[in-house]
Assembly symmetry: C2
Homo-oligomer: 138 residues x 2
């Protein structure tokens, strides 16, 4: 049970790094309104689609480290919106940085505390002059 949106967010990124599907699913709100968009992937909506997709992703043993740089928190009532920039490092390729990713995480407070309602991310633009590099995960 997450007492704050930040607690839920910490658990989300911990689950990504630990490839822990059950922790990941515990972070998500258990409702058809939950949705997730990863770069260049189809939109995932609802607990069944989320579990299926994250099961596949986390089985690949991503072994990534995600450093989260906070851009903005907007909290209002029972919703909290967090805009961040994610910097991803892949364990097998520590010297090959991936381009940063913008992510928006929306949390909602329910009877069971704060849960993740929406995770959306999109590639940030490459630095000026750089060729567009490949994205992690295709």
């Amino acid at each position: 049970m997450f007492q704050t949106p930040q607690d839920a967010e910490d658990a989300y990124y911990d689950a990504v790094e630990a490839c822990d599907l059950e922790q990941m699913m515990a972070v998500w709100e258990n409702s058809p309104e939950a949705h997730c968009l990863l770069p260049m992937q189809p939109m995932l909506q609802g607990p069944r689609a989320l579990r299926s997709a994250w099961s596949g992703l986390l089985k690949e043993a991503l072994r990534v480290e995600v450093t989260v740089h906070s851009l903005q928190w907007i909290e209002q009532g029972e919703l909290a919106i967090h805009l961040v920039e994610e910097a991803v490092t892949v364990a097998a390729q520590p010297n090959q940085p991936y381009p940063p990713i913008y992510a928006t995480n929306i949390y909602r407070k329910g009877a069971g505390g704060w849960r993740l309602l929406v995770h959306l991310n999109a590639p940030a633009p490459p630095p000026p002059g750089a060729a567009p590099p490949g994205m992690p995960g295709g």
Copy 2:
């Protein structure tokens, strides 16, 4: 003044199609929390950055038509989150459809009615087997 989030959304897409900067700025909440992410562009934050970027985009006379397919509305208190798929047609190239774009629009109710707080979008994946096509605007 927009009485509903849908009114604000209609005005947003009308402003894109009409290349009307003043209507566009009237849709946005006039606060540093307003932010906008267009595909592969830097994040825009606050009224000054929004006006500057949209001024450039709308001066190019985009002449696009945007068909909005609603995926989900989440309304809670003074926030409304709308997840949509945008299909864009460029007037000069009516037979060359662009790949769809996922967009998330977040509206907030203030003293002046509902205004757009966040617009984020990200390319949807290409259909299976298709080569990744170019994105509009870059």
